[in-house]
Symmetry: C2
Subunit: 235 residues, 2 copies
DNA sequence: GCCCCAGTTAACTCCCCGGTTAATTAGAGG
DNA sequence: CCTCTAATTAACCGGGGAGTTAACTGGGGC
């Protein structure tokens, strides 16, 4: 009799529920303390599961970390895949994407933490992930289409590389959150107050649309612009 | 006879040299492995100094980390303090600041690492620093002056908050480097190739100047812009 | 030439933590 | 009701790493 399937009160002997509880606890622990400082004992305590279960389901601490990392990225990319802005005016579509990103960062600090952590460790684990190919953000293609629409209607400039543009948009959105603590400490501001977040949102939209709507070549070139200094660069 | 002062071959019994060697090793170790994974034994080995010396000079692993963090920030702020762009045209001055930042990030990955690490740990150590007040970047004032010049000559838009603007400029510059590994893995690009860095430099300058030179109100407002959603925000 | 202490050393302690062993039990299938 | 296995548990192990102890020494001051 498999009367109770799962989803009711998860008591004893429920593989999926146990796995899920561990994963959630890992998400919390890793994003709070970081990979090296996180302890498997604490993760087990957090979710009231025997430590051995971590090794039973995830093999090792690193295996658990990788699973947590993947789950965070999967959810993020899934959201970006859902967005539908094809029916919007190009400028409104760009704005909608910025809103999506900022809202996501506000509501999912776990993602911001994992991204920062993973970059600190040179994306060692991300690169190892078999799901890496799934993490290529679908937004670059959405952006490419929006840009094309905006360009053919004459609203947007012509010389925009979608990936490069995506990085810029992303930078304007995420850095405020990923660096909120140093910025907050140095400028003595509460970066997470509603008013400040809204101000940020407006600035980002303003920046991005200014760039896109700037007529090609209209920008005053700085006089005496020195050529790119390749010599100073590594590799 | 204090014949050899220091700076020649630093052999035995040289407090300053020992302290400096430890600090340098700490810089390397912490930025490579992170605060929790860094080991005092390894730091001692790295610079050929007895582990006890770390405790003699810095009190604890955390004390050493704080000293390293402060030294990294001090050097960064010192550089920003040195820059002189008052003689340049406003647009060229902005460009010079962007160049300064990008060059610095390219040449000082330690700074990028420490900044990311410190933010991951919610700026816990930075906030504890007695030198925190020294880390308020002098660039915001420089920026304020440049903006004023650009505004009175009619080249720049009027409604720009210096701190907000600084954050945006900084975001466009640093995120490319702080997130180089995840971006590189996902987009399969070598973010640190000379050509890609130069492309980045041009894009950032383009973004920032487009924003500043955008005539107030010239930007097409997106139709149907929904009002700011305060409700969705935390606190 | 001697004293004294800042600077240096090796050896040690203790505990935390990742991972393992082996025994135990819930419950599905026959 | 019995069996067999997936799931769960407690107890244990070994290594690494932060921090300490106490002995020692180079060299400046007198």
């Amino acid at each position: 009799m498999k009367r109770r399937k799962r989803a009711t009160a998860p008591q004893k002997r429920n593989a999926d529920a146990t796995r899920a509880k561990i994963l959630q606890a890992a998400l919390d622990e890793f994003s709070e303390r970081g990979l090296p400082a996180a302890s498997t004992d604490d993760i087990a305590d957090r979710c009231g599961v025997n430590k051995r279960m971590i090794y039973y389901y995830f093999g090792s601490k690193e295996g658990l970390y990788l699973a947590a990392l993947e789950s965070v990225f999967e959810r993020f990319v899934a959201l970006e895949r859902e967005i539908d802005v094809e029916h919007l005016e190009p400028a409104a579509a760009i704005e909608a994407m910025i809103d999506l990103k900022i809202d996501y960062y506000v509501e999912n600090p776990h993602f911001v933490s994992f991204l920062a952590m993973e970059n600190f460790y040179k994306a060692r684990h991300l690169r190892k992930s078999k799901k890496l190919h799934m993490f290529k953000t679908p937004l670059t293609e959405v952006i490419a289409r929006i840009l094309k629409r905006g360009q053919s209607s004459g609203q947007f400039r012509q010389d925009v590389d979608p990936v490069d543009f995506y990085v810029s948009m992303c930078a304007l959105c995420i850095m405020y959150f990923s660096n909120q603590h140093s910025l907050g400490a140095i400028f003595q501001r509460d970066m997470m107050s509603g008013a400040n977040i809204e101000r940020r949102r407006r600035t980002v939209v303003d920046f991005v649309l200014s760039y896109l709507q700037m007529t090609d070549g209209a920008r005053t070139p700085a006089p005496g612009r020195k050529p790119a200094r390749q010599a100073a660069l590594v590799s």
